[in-house]
């Protein structure tokens, strides 16, 4: 909403203020460009120093100048896919519960609770993961250590939940009441209405929720670094979930502290950062575009 296109009077103070505000608006563009610029600035030397065949290799041994990104990328993907596989059904179920089934007083408790989950620092979740979840995983799976991909998946799923729930909630909310009324008029039960009418109608919004949840999961750093094991090996085979794994984010966080500035390793880490930047940009863009195309303002919720 705005007061649009009035031929504005020439009033120098108003003009000055408006230019400042316009500058603030443009600042976000500036910052994005700056991030991109500096990632390239510090990462480009790696592309010159390390041959491409090395970078796409399957081994990540920086001490031997081997910088294959594949295990890291796959590690991120594995953990993300696993997390979404859990949080999608759980999140949609919770959104359904909040939107369609729960009585008002339950809703009043659930919604703030979910907001609180969203606010828990990732390092605290990682800490709880180390202390509580990891021993449990070791108990129940017989794996030698509890610091596995599975542990990371479980925690990541929990962290992605608030994002998925809130967008799925929006999606379910925006299904017109008339759809439900029509179904009831045809003597459908509430569940039948939800399963056959509301959910299919909300599908685009739920897809958006998934995309933004994926963006969130891929970008998570501390939790996976603390519990997922940090072994930069290709996560292949059926027991991949029960073995330690390394994500791109954890790699940067774990190794940057130990590299010499200006070394090849240092530059390659920036390249990993660049890959993450581009990846999350594409995913979040796709997610946000589907929100905008459906005509909803989208609000700031998906940014939470």
């Amino acid at each position: 909403m705005k007061t649009p296109t009035i031929p504005r009077d020439v009033n120098w103070r108003e003009f000055f203020v408006e230019q400042l505000i316009r500058l603030a608006g443009a600042s976000s563009i500036g910052f994005v460009l700056l991030i991109f610029l500096f990632l390239i600035r510090e990462g480009a030397p790696a592309l010159l120093e390390v041959p491409l065949s090395n970078l796409v290799g399957q081994r990540w041994y920086p001490t031997f100048d081997i910088y294959g990104l594949a295990p890291l990328v796959l590690g991120s993907l594995l953990v993300t896919v696993g997390a979404i596989a859990i949080s999608l059904p759980l999140g949609v179920a919770a959104a359904l519960f909040i939107g369609e089934i729960a009585p008002e007083w339950v809703r009043e408790i659930l919604k703030p609770a979910i907001e609180i989950i969203a606010g828990i620092p990732s390092v605290v979740i990682g800490f709880v993961g180390i202390q509580v979840v990891s021993p449990l995983v070791r108990e129940f799976s017989g794996a030698p250590t509890g610091l596995t991909a599975l542990t990371g998946v479980l925690l990541l799923a929990y962290m992605a939940l608030p994002t998925i729930i809130s967008i799925a909630e929006d999606a379910l909310d925006s299904v017109p009441e008339s759809y439900r009324h029509a179904a009831y008029a045809l003597s459908a039960t509430q569940w039948q209405t939800i399963w056959r009418v509301v959910l299919p109608a909300a599908r685009p919004g739920i897809v958006t929720a998934v995309m933004l949840g994926v963006g969130r999961a891929i970008g998570e750093t501390m939790t996976v670094m603390m519990v997922a094991g940090n072994a930069a090996r290709m996560p292949l085979g059926l027991d991949a979930f029960l073995r330690p794994v390394r994500t791109m984010t954890a790699t940067i966080a774990a190794e940057m502290g130990e590299v010499a500035r200006g070394s090849t390793h240092y530059h390659v880490l920036f390249v990993v950062g660049l890959v993450l930047f581009l990846l999350t940009f594409v995913i979040n863009l796709a997610g946000a575009l589907t929100i905008f195309r459906r005509g909803r303002g989208g609000g700031g919720r998906f940014l939470a």
Binding site: T3, P4, T5, I6, P7, D9
Partner: protein, 260 residues
């Protein structure tokens, strides 16, 4: 189109010359020639969606807010085209003030509402403001009811009081022309009476254009009347002429209630 050139005078306050207005491709007003003279009340009446509100908003360039709006023709205030590039549109709106159908008190105190307009311009002394506030509220027939609670929030007033507050707000700008768009539509008969009485007094110092709630209101307080039908100016003349001796059959039909 009615040839009103015979009664168009040179000393009119506001003149509309062959004015048409479009929202996108749809026309809201077509070829309007109209004048508002000093110290008179012009009642612009007609069925819904005839362009009456648009007509009012053209007069203080509130139509500039409509992104799809397009104006043809000219509008003059005291002989000067209000769309000239050297016209200050914010100043224009202090000379031609408007009261809307639904009262919109600002979420401030009664005092702050009334002083809002004047304080947008130059700074004023406290005494000046107090005097201005009292004068404006008296002219809007609201002073006695609020003089002891000027710091109260404006939203605490009743509907009728809020509308008179909006009138006082406009009066505080000391405008030359006052536009009123169905100002009494949500009001009870007593409040309506108070507003109409206030307008009759105000006409001595201002020019007033009102879109009346019904034709009875037009004949009660108007000096001149203009009948707008589907964007076209069908009839324009003194209130007596228009209501007792209308020249167009459509005017007669509307007034007598054959359509509405």
């Amino acid at each position: 189109m009615v040839t009103n050139k015979a009664i168009m005078s040179e000393t009119a306050k506001l003149t509309l010359e062959d004015v048409s207005f479009y929202y996108g491709d749809e026309s809201a007003l077509r070829h309007i020639d109209l004048q508002i003279l000093n110290h008179e009340i012009l009642a612009v009446f007609g069925p819904a969606m005839s362009g009456k509100s648009t007509l009012l908003r053209i007069l203080n360039r509130l139509t500039d807010l409509a992104t799809e709006g397009r104006l043809e023709g000219q509008v003059f205030l005291d002989g000067k085209n209000i769309h000239d590039p050297d016209v200050s549109v914010t100043q224009l709106r202090t000379r031609v003030g408007i009261v809307f159908a639904v009262p919109v008190p600002l979420p401030l105190s009664i005092w702050e509402n009334v002083t809002y307009g004047p304080l947008l311009g130059r700074r004023r002394g406290k005494d000046q403001l107090e005097e201005l506030v009292e004068r404006s509220l008296r002219s809007a027939a609201l002073w006695d009811e609020v003089k002891d609670r000027l710091q109260d929030p404006a939203t605490a007033l009743s509907g009728g009081q809020q509308q008179r507050l909006c009138l006082a707000r406009v009066l505080a700008l000391e405008p030359e022309v006052i536009l009123l768009d169905e100002p009494c539509s949500g009001l009870d008969p007593i409040s309506t009476m108070k507003v109409e009485a206030a307008l009759l007094t105000l006409k001595q110092k201002h020019s007033i254009v009102i879109v009346p709630h019904n034709v009875q209101q037009a004949s009660r307080i108007g000096n001149k009347a203009a009948f707008l039908l589907m964007g076209e100016l069908v009839e324009y003349g003194s209130v007596e002429d228009v209501f007792t001796r209308p020249r167009d059959s459509r005017t007669d039909d509307y007034i007598t209630g054959r359509f509405g």
